[in-house]
Structures are given as structure tokens and as C-alpha cells.
Amino acid sequence: MKLKQSIERIMNAVFFICGMVSIAAVALITIYMVWAGLPAIVKIGPVDFLLGTVWKSTAAEPQFGILPFILTSVWGMLGALIIGVPVGVLTAVFLAKLAPPKLAALVRPAVELLAGIPSVVYGLIGMIVLVPTVMKTFDLKSGSCLLSAILVLAIMVLPNIISVSETALRAVPPEYEEASLGLGATWIETVFKVSVPAARSGIAAGIVLGAGRAVGEAMAVMMVAGNVANMPGLFKSVRFLTTAVASEMSYAADGSLQKQALFSIGLVLFVFIMLINWLLNTFLKRGEKQ
């Protein structure tokens, strides 16, 4: 009897520890990002660091301004959403409300497949197909630019937007739609005037999720954006927050201000992502309340 109870107590503790791992991991990540990211921000000065427009980390008199990266990440995200949101939401409407079941059964796996494709594969296709196409179409010296990155990101955020929006659209109570149909509205009018507005929190959550993916993506962007620390322009070679970290990390010397500054960029990215997470939670909670 005693043995049984001690086993029970031990297992309770074991499972409790497992439950704590998530909390510990988030705490660990937060602490390390702050601990590794703050020193350079303090040394360089937060204003010079965040608002400086010149990044010359290896120059004789190095400059560490990351405004180009911040703006590039913001523009890249917005660009990806401008293309990805309409296509994604409309595809979700198609899957949830308009597609004949057989057609939906073909499209849905396609969306799942898109979600599963590794980012390096998107990057490869971007490099080989998209970049030359952009170069030719706009008569540029090089097609590795913000526009190419935006196009790749737009495809990458699609599955997030589609699947979350579709779930939200499916959760709309049929009574709403019946009421609208009963008033003489056609099905397509009902979908756009009743279902889509009713699912707006969920759709917003899908968009925010997509935004998170766009801001956080590193490898695919690295392969198509050209990777020069310019202030953003649609046809300029640019560097994102993510790629700024990735591209210099492998050769920056340990303990150097350059390496510390890279961690600071990581911290800025982390703060961005946390804001997006917070926004996502707000939308998801609002969706649940409805």
C-alpha cells in the first residue's frame, strides 16, 4: 500500500516537471536573449542602434545602425500580407463555403502540403526561378531584392492564413447564415456579408500568424533578398532582421562588439515576435468569446 502511494507521488512529481518544461524554456529563452542582447545596445546606445541607418560592422570605425533591418522586416511583412491576405482569405472562403466537397478534398491537402515544404526549398525555387524573372521583368542588374523576398514570403504565409481562416469560417453558426438567406440574400452575399464578418477575429488571428511567420523567416529570405544592408526599396538588395543575424553569425569573433550586436538584433526580433504573439492571443481570445 505504501509503495503504491509513493509511486503515485513520484509520478505526480515527474509529470509536474514535464509540465514545467515549457515555462522553463520560455523563461530561459527570454533571459538569454536579454542577457546576450542588452550589452551591445547599451554600448552603442539605444537610439544610435535602433535608429541608425548605417550598418558597417567590420569597418575600421564600425557603425551599428539597424534601422534598415527593422524597416526591411516591416516592409517585407506588409508586402507579403498585401499579396497573401486576399489570396489566402479568399481561398479559405472557397474551402469553407463555396467549394463542392470533392474539390475541397483536393485543395485542402494542397494547402497542407504547402505548409509542410521546408523554407530552404522555397528559397531554392526563389533563387533559381523568381530572382531571374524579377530581374528580367523589371530590367534590373540583379533580381535579388526586397520584391523577390516579398513574393516568396507571400507564398509561405498562405497556408497559415488559409487554415486558420477556414477554421474560423467553419465555426460560424449556421443560424446566422440561414437568417441572411431567409431575408432573400444569395449564398455568396451571405458569405461575404455575414460569414466573413462573423469570423473576423479568427481571420485576423490567421493574418497575425502569417505576419509572425514572415517576420521570423530566415533561410528562404537569405537566399533571395541579396543581403546588403541597404535602407529598404522594392528593387534594392536588402537585409532582414533575421538574415542580419544569420549572415554574420558564422564569422563574427566571440566577444566582439559585432557578435554582441548580432545578439541585440536577435533581441529586437524577439521583441517583435512577442508583440505579434500577444496580438495573436488577443484575437484568438476574442474569437473564443464570440
Binding site: 503515485e8 509529470f15 509536474f16 514535464c18 509540465g19 518544461v21 515549457s22 515555462i23 529563452i29 538569454y32 546576450a36 486576399p86 489570396v87 489566402g88 479568399l90 481561398t91 472562403v93 472557397f94 483536393l106 485543395v107 491537402p109 494542397a110 497542407e112 502540403l113 504547402l114 509542410g116 515544404i117 521546408p118 530552404v120 526549398v121 528559397g123 531554392l124 525555387i125 533563387m127 533559381i128 526561378v129 507564398i155 498562405l158 455568396i188 452575399e189 461575404f192 500568424l209 509572425g212 511567420r213 521570423g216 530566415a218 533561410m219 537566399m223 543575424v245 544569420a246 553569425m249 558564422s250 545578439f263 536577435g266 526580433l269 515576435i273 505579434i276 504573439n277 495573436l280 492571443n281
Partner: protein, 283 residues
């Protein structure tokens, strides 16, 4: 234009947009798959799959990358599976404090939203440098453990929630301890959800590159045994794709790897579907 004509025109435009978007989504996928398979599959040769790169013979082989991918999947799952399932069990079967459950669920969602490059950075700081594991498959696996934890926790939790409360009452009513009940009734009933979580996790591991680049590196050495492998650095297939495409311009190899990755993604999606169908049949 009359009001009803306007209405009709508007409806038509909307329909065209909706169908057009869905078509575009599928078209992008088909074009992507087609292009990669056409350029990749002819380059998948036995020599590519079965050798390591040789400078002397000037050949490229991806055997080390295949092995590294396998090793990383193995170790990551061995660690993450018990942790993730355990966390899910705690949340659904043991935890009584609503606040605690909320905090864990919130942190799990947060982990799911953190981009892989951040995992790479933290993994480098903690496992590679602080704990001194160096750039190795071990460091890479440990980093990925944290990354895939949310996937396993979430899918397990969902399937635990579908186990009828009557099963639990029945077992406890016979005098089972909680752990005995979990071991004999709850976990066996939710095994398909746990398997789904594993498959999804494998998908993420296979596709991951940014988190591994700084923790496991990109080396292409074949270790003499599996234990030695974990102490050494090595690139997985995705990392290798990046290296061959972006750093070395070996596009034939890159496309071959891309085709292999797509086939894996394909198999993984089919496997999850199969498990889900099986699960429905049982009910």
C-alpha cells in the same frame, strides 16, 4: 444598371475572385512540385545517396546528411516525446490549478510562435557554448527538442481530451491509482494522437535549417558509430540544401535534395492522414 443587375455582377466578380484565389494557391503548389521534381529527380543517383563528398574524386554525396537527419530525428524524439506527452498528461490529468494550466498553455503557444533563428541563437548560447557541447548533433537535437515540444504537447493534449470521462471514472472507481489509470486506459486510448504529434514533429525536424546551422553546423563527416556522431557537428538534408545552393552553387545537388525533402513531406502528410482515418474508424 438596375439594382438586381448590379447585385448579380457583384456576385459574379466575387465568385471569380474566390475561385481564382483557390486556383492560384493550387497552381503555385503544382508548379513548385513540378519544377523541383523535374530538375531534382534525375539527379538522385545511387552514388549521391550512398557516398560522402570527395574532394579528390570531385564528387558529391549526401549520405552524411541523410545519416545526420536520421540521428537528429532519433535523439530529438527520444527526449521530446516523453517530455511533451508528460506535460500534456499533467495538464489534462493531474493539474488542478486553472492558473497553472493557463500559464503552461500560454508558454507553449509562445514557444510555437518563436522563429527558428531565435532557437538557433539560444541553442548556440546555451548548448554549444555554456554547456560546452560544441557545435554538434547533440546541441542541434537539444535545440530542436524545445522547438517541437509545442507540437507534441498540443496534439497529445487534444487526443487526451477525447478520452471519455467514463473510462477514467471506471478505472478510479475500481480502485486504480491515477498513474495506473493513465498507463492502462488513458495513454492507450490516445495513442493515435501521440503518433500524429510525432509525425508532425518529424516533419518540422526534416525541414529545419536556421535553428541547426549554428548548433549542429554543416559538416559532412560520417562518424564511426552513432554515439560518436552526437559529439560531432553535421548538417541535415535541409542545411545541406542551403549550403549547396547558396554557398557553393551546386544546384543539381540542391534540387536533388529538394526533391527528396518534398517526397518526405509528402509521405509525412500521407502518414498523418492515415493515422487520422484509422482513428475515426475506431470510433
Amino acid at each position: 444598371m438596375s439594382h438586381s443587375a448590379k447585385r448579380k455582377a457583384k456576385a459574379t466578380v466575387l465568385k471569380v475572385l474566390v475561385y481564382g484565389s483557390a486556383f492560384l494557391t493550387v497552381a503555385v503548389l503544382v508548379a513548385l512540385l513540378g519544377y523541383i521534381f523535374v530538375r531534382g529527380i534525375p539527379n538522385i543517383t545511387w552514388q549521391l545517396l550512398s557516398t560522402k563528398p570527395s574532394v579528390i574524386k570531385d564528387t558529391i554525396g549526401i549520405l552524411p546528411n541523410l545519416l545526420n537527419t536520421l540521428y537528429i530525428i532519433l535523439l530529438t524524439l527520444i527526449i521530446a516525446l516523453p517530455l511533451g506527452v508528460g506535460a500534456a498528461v499533467y495538464l489534462t490529468e493531474y493539474a488542478t490549478s486553472k492558473t497553472f494550466i493557463k500559464v503552461v498553455e500560454f508558454t507553449t503557444e509562445t514557444l510555437a510562435g518563436i522563429p527558428s533563428i531565435i532557437y538557433g541563437l539560444v541553442g548556440m548560447l546555451v548548448f554549444v557554448q555554456m554547456l560546452g557541447f560544441g557545435s554538434s548533433l547533440l546541441s542541434g537535437s537539444l535545440t530542436l527538442v524545445i522547438m517541437i515540444l509545442p507540437t507534441i504537447i498540443r496534439t497529445t493534449q487534444e487526443s487526451l481530451k477525447t478520452v471519455p470521462a467514463g473510462y477514467r471514472e471506471g478505472a478510479l472507481g475500481l480502485g486504480a491509482t491515477r498513474w495506473y489509470m493513465i498507463r492502462t486506459i488513458v495513454l492507450p486510448s490516445s495513442i493515435s494522437g501521440i503518433i500524429t504529434g510525432c509525425i508532425l514533429a518529424v516533419g518540422r525536424i526534416v525541414g529545419e535549417s536556421a535553428a541547426l546551422l549554428f548548433t549542429a553546423g554543416s559538416a559532412t563527416i560520417i562518424a564511426s558509430n552513432i554515439f560518436e556522431a552526437y559529439t560531432r557537428g553535421g548538417g541535415t538534408l535541409s542545411v545541406a540544401l542551403y549550403m549547396y545552393a547558396a554557398e557553393r552553387g551546386e544546384f543539381e545537388v540542391a534540387f536533388a535534395i529538394a526533391a527528396i525533402l518534398l517526397i518526405l513531406v509528402f509521405l509525412i502528410n500521407m502518414a498523418t492522414r492515415l493515422v487520422q482515418v484509422k482513428m475515426k474508424q475506431k470510433k
